[in-house]
Each structure stands twice: as structure tokens, then as C-alpha cells.
């Protein structure tokens, strides 16, 4: 049943069930759903490249604040220590549990920071519109897509909250600037990931 004259550029196949659909223009805020399985086909992005770039820069600053400013202090029977997020990796690396140290460094620092830096490069390149870096931009976007499922900042935040509740019974906990920067970072991350469509970025690269 091969049809050689389908307008493939105006069509989309559902990523859940493979059914072909004709693309139609959507009004701001509208979404297109698969007529067979009900999965989301595409939606309008209510976030421009300019906006996404601004939020990425803000996220990078918040990431630095979260890592380098005091995160929380813990007071056990007069023994008070202030914890920095960045020092958790250091503590882990001093234990003889290399794997847990690597897991901690990957999920807490390398992957989130990597995604933010790649976002900054890609969005910066698209926004400044100066050099012909289509191939480079494609590689960046491919890498971002690869890393995305492993970016677990919001899950880590829930882990922090659970830890605080667990500790609250045996110690006095006070939260500091680093913690609040981290909360803001997670909020912005969630906002960007639910409003910026990768498809839109692919199209922006094509037009570049």
C-alpha cells in the first residue's frame, strides 16, 4: 500500500500508535490529539526562544546559588553543621562507596548542569542568529534529548523534603538560601519543560 505522493511535511504520525494525521494550524494554547489512541500529537508552544533563553540563564544562576550558598543547617544536640549541596558529593567521595559517589555526582551535578549548559549554547546560537551552525545545533539538540529522561531534579527535591521530615524528629533543621534557590530552579525547570516543544526547536534549526 505504498503511496508515493503523500504530503509528508504537512503530516505527523502518532508517536504512540503510528497513525497518520494531517497537521492543522492550532490557535494559541490548543493541542492536537491522536484520533485513535488519544495521545498528544503536538501543541502550540507558548514559550519563545527568547523567553526560554532568559529562563535558562536564570536557571544557571539559581543552580550556582543552590550549589554554592548554604543549603541547610542541622543541629544535633548542640553539634551544628551547615551543609552545602556541592559538599555532599565531596562527602560521598570520601566514603569507600565509589558507585554511590558517581551516581550522586551524575544525578545532582553533571546531568542537570550539562542540560542547562547545552540549552544555553543551543538557545544562544538560535537567538543570536549569527553563525551557520546548523550541524552543531543538531548535535546539541540530540544530546539534550538523550539526557532529558535522566534529569531528575524535581525527584531530588522530593528526596530533600523527605530527608528533612525524617531528620526533624532527631535534629533541628534550618533551611537557607541554597535550598530556596534550588526550589526556584525546579519550578523554572518544570515550567520550561512543559512549555517548550522540541519539535519547535527542530523547526527553528531547520530555518536557521
Amino acid at each position: 500500500m505504498l503511496q508515493q505522493n503523500l504530503p509528508v511535511d504537512d503530516m505527523i504520525a502518532c508517536h504512540s500508535c503510528d497513525l497518520l494525521h494531517q497537521r492543522t494550524a492550532l490557535v494559541e494554547g490548543e493541542k492536537a490529539w491522536c484520533s485513535r489512541c488519544g495521545s498528544l500529537l503536538y501543541r502550540t508552544s507558548n514559550n519563545t526562544i527568547e523567553m526560554a533563553l532568559a529562563l535558562t540563564i536564570a536557571s544557571l544562576l539559581l543552580f550556582l546559588f543552590a550549589q554554592l550558598l548554604p543549603f541547610l543547617s542541622i543541629n544535633v544536640e548542640g553539634n551544628k553543621t551547615t551543609i552545602y549541596l556541592v559538599s555532599t558529593i565531596d562527602t560521598l567521595s570520601q566514603l569507600d562507596n565509589l558507585l554511590l559517589g558517581i551516581a550522586g555526582a551524575l544525578f545532582l551535578v553533571v546531568i542537570p548542569l550539562g542540560v542547562l549548559l547545552l540549552d544555553l549554547l543551543l538557545l544562544g546560537a538560535l537567538y543570536s542568529n549569527t553563525r551557520p551552525l546548523t550541524q552543531f545545533a543538531r548535535q546539541l539538540l540530540l544530546l539534550i534529548g538523550r539526557l532529558a529522561p535522566w534529569n531528575m531534579l524535581e525527584i531530588f527535591l522530593l528526596g530533600v523534603l523527605v530527608t528533612i521530615v525524617k531528620l526533624a524528629s532527631i535534629a533541628e533543621i534550618s533551611l537557607h538560601q541554597g535550598f530556596w534557590a534550588f526550589v526556584a530552579l525546579v519550578m523554572i525547570n518544570l515550567f520550561v519543560s512543559t512549555t517548550l516543544e522540541p519539535e519547535e526547536l527542530w523547526q527553528a534549526i531547520d530555518k536557521h
Binding site: 500508535c17 494531517q22 490529539w33 528526596g159 525524617k166 519539535e199
Partner: protein, 204 residues
């Protein structure tokens, strides 16, 4: 709403949408995506085999993850070994109900649910069951979304280990189950990433 013409799938029309960037295009043997350059497939290659392999890996890791202690707490010379379920029971006994429920769902219910749903769907592909495909697809999207949340307990262990290092007064060390559990979550995520929901619909 996007209209669809004569209920034709991309595969039936000789098309493929790129697994990486989603671009729809004519498909041929040994072809690369015109937009992003990734290898082009109509279906994820060896999807069922890979999904099973990662799922079985996860099931094997699930055993030590639950039998061995996830962390060892030493307080004033007395060492306590906590398994995952032991931790949940402890939290419940000190009336930390919300946290006990969160850990119970994230560490015990979600992994079991993932094992159940993914093996059910793989079985369904094998048998060519084309009943309630809408629900099967939705079920997969749900477990795909909630899967990574199992990592909460690993993050809690990492944080407690980093926070509680007070020499003789109190020390927390990671137990052998921590890595087994993290490996189990990663394996179930890889299993879900290898799974291709389109295979469910192919039998229709």
C-alpha cells in the same frame, strides 16, 4: 483537531517518523533521518527483546535491593541496619504517615507496578491482543512517567549519608541495597525507553 486520512499508519504508507526528532519521511533500508541524522527505523529495533532483557535485569536487582539494608545508622556505638520496608515500617511507627506513604509508593508500589505493566504489555504484543489498546497505551505512558520517582529513596540515602557524619555521635553509611536499588530503577527506565507502543497497535 488534526484530521486523519483513511486510518493509515505511517508504516502502512511506507513512512517512518524518526524515533529521535519525530520527523515524518519516506523510509528505506539502512537510512538516516533527513533532519537529525539518527538511524531511521519504523519500529524501535529489537524493542521486545531489549525491554525483556532490562526488565529481567531489574527483577534480579529487585531481590538484593529489598533483602539487604539500604543504609546503616550508627548512633552512640549502636549500628542499625535498615532495609527499605524496614524504613517504611519505622516511619509508620513514629507516626510519620505522609513520608511513610511516599516511600512505600515510590520504593515498593511503583517498581512492582512497572514490572507488572511492562510484562503485561510485552505479553500482549506477543499474543497480538488488540483489546483495549487505548488503555494499554495510557497505562504505559503513566508508568513511563512515574518510573523515575522511585529514585527518591536513593536520593534520601545520598543526602542522609552526606548530612549525618558526626563521628562518634551519629554516622549514616550507605548499605549494599542502595546501589542494587538505583540499578533496578535505571534498568526499569531503560526497559521503558526500549518499549515501542506502536507494536501494540500493529496487530489491529
Amino acid at each position: 483537531m488534526a484530521g486523519h486520512r483513511q486510518a493509515l499508519t505511517a508504516m502502512q504508507a511506507g513512512l517512518a517518523s524518526c524515533h529521535v526528532c519525530g520527523k515524518l519521511q519516506y523510509s528505506g533500508a539502512d537510512q538516516h533521518c533527513v533532519r537529525c541524522g539518527s538511524r531511521l527505523f519504523q519500529r524501535k529495533p529489537f524493542s521486545v527483546q531489549r525491554s525483556w532483557a532490562f526488565l529481567i535485569t531489574a527483577l534480579i536487582l529487585y531481590v538484593p535491593a529489598n533483602l539487604y539494608p539500604i543504609m546503616n545508622t550508627t548512633s552512640l556505638g549502636i549500628t542499625d541496619e535498615n532495609t527499605i520496608i524496614g524504613g517504611v515500617i519505622l516511619l509508620w511507627s513514629v507516626k510519620s504517615y505522609p513520608v511513610a506513604v511516599i516511600i512505600f509508593i515510590a520504593s515498593i508500589v511503583i517498581p512492582l507496578l512497572k514490572f507488572l505493566v511492562i510484562s503485561l504489555l510485552l505479553f500482549s504484543i506477543w499474543k497480538g491482543h488488540s483489546i483495549k489498546l487505548n488503555q494499554q497505551t495510557r497505562l504505559f505512558r503513566i508508568i513511563e512517567y512515574i518510573g523515575p520517582w522511585s529514585m527518591i529513596d536513593v536520593f534520601v540515602v545520598i543526602l542522609l549519608v552526606a548530612l549525618i557524619q558526626f563521628g562518634g555521635i551519629a554516622t549514616v553509611l550507605p548499605g549494599s541495597a542502595a546501589m542494587a536499588f538505583a540499578g533496578m530503577v535505571i534498568a526499569t527506565m531503560l526497559s521503558a525507553l526500549s518499549f515501542d507502543t506502536r507494536l501494540l497497535w500493529d496487530s489491529e
